[in-house]
Symmetry: C2
Subunit: 137 residues, 2 copies
DNA sequence: TCAATTTATGATATTAACATGATAAAGACA
DNA sequence: TGTCTTTATCATGTTAATATCATAAATTGA
């Protein structure tokens, strides 16, 4: 569903949010804990910082932190730098123009599905996922 | 959402179903009409034939036809040889084990979304898409 | 039979995603 | 200041998806 890269980003942000004291978290720690290749994760975190999702600091006490409170951080913000979710889901048959007026064969049935997916990413916050995790079903 | 290959497969099957008289359709015609690389499409159609979705015949009057009536052909049958939809959508965070008992942080909210997608492919038939296309919204 | 036409198949090429490795730049602190 | 630790960046390698090319095998019909 998500690219490997976007999935790494999401897992990394959740890891940071779970430890949302004020300390910074180093790449090495996250890579080890999440079993994500260290140098690859490093670049993902850098991109998240450029996207305004994280803050990064260098040097001895450096590392990464959330730049946004978990209850205001939507999944779409985390995923967007890596996957163009809305774009990809608009037309199941890949037509550049596909909407209610110029619809592909799948449009009328697919749009509700695509909207369900888009809404999930647009509205779900990191804090909501954490609260679910705290009280497993 | 779908891989390029699965999207080609779906478009090709819809093209065949729209012309579901008894004639066979040649790869060249479909490739041209759908603007899909001819040799690539050829292999996709071959895989659909091996999967039981199409029948193929060689020689002068050869080509491809649906092997299943459009109203009994589900989208999942067309897509399955190329994309493992259910697998990919099970866990948003990519955990090998993720279910109601051993849930990832996203599980409880994601499962409904994933189920919506899976149900769409599992239940929607080619005939349903065609009837929509005939009566545009 | 044989030529024409079609799908089937194997080899190869291209591209983007994923990943690694080495070095530069910045910050902390003795 | 100088050293250590961290992120930032650049160069390169690997892999799978996508695509192309050439040839084989099957079918039709003159």
């Amino acid at each position: 569903m998500l690219s490997q890269t976007a999935e790494y980003a999401l897992r990394a942000v959740l890891y940071l949010a779970e430890r949302a004291d004020d300390r910074t978290v180093r790449v090495g720690e996250m890579a080890q804990a999440l079993r994500i290749p260290r140098n690859y994760l490093s670049k993902i975190l850098h991109r998240l910082a450029r996207a305004g999702v994280l803050t990064s600091t260098r040097g001895k006490t450096g590392g990464f932190q959330l730049a946004v409170p978990a209850d205001r951080l939507r999944l779409s913000e985390i995923v967007a730098p890596f996957d163009r979710i809305d774009e990809r889901r608009r037309c199941l048959l890949g037509r550049p123009q596909c909407n209610d007026r110029t619809a592909c064969a799948a449009h009328s049935r697919w749009k509700d599905v695509a909207d369900t997916v888009a809404t999930f990413f647009r509205e779900t916050t990191v804090a909501e996922l954490l609260s679910d995790a705290a009280v497993p079903a």
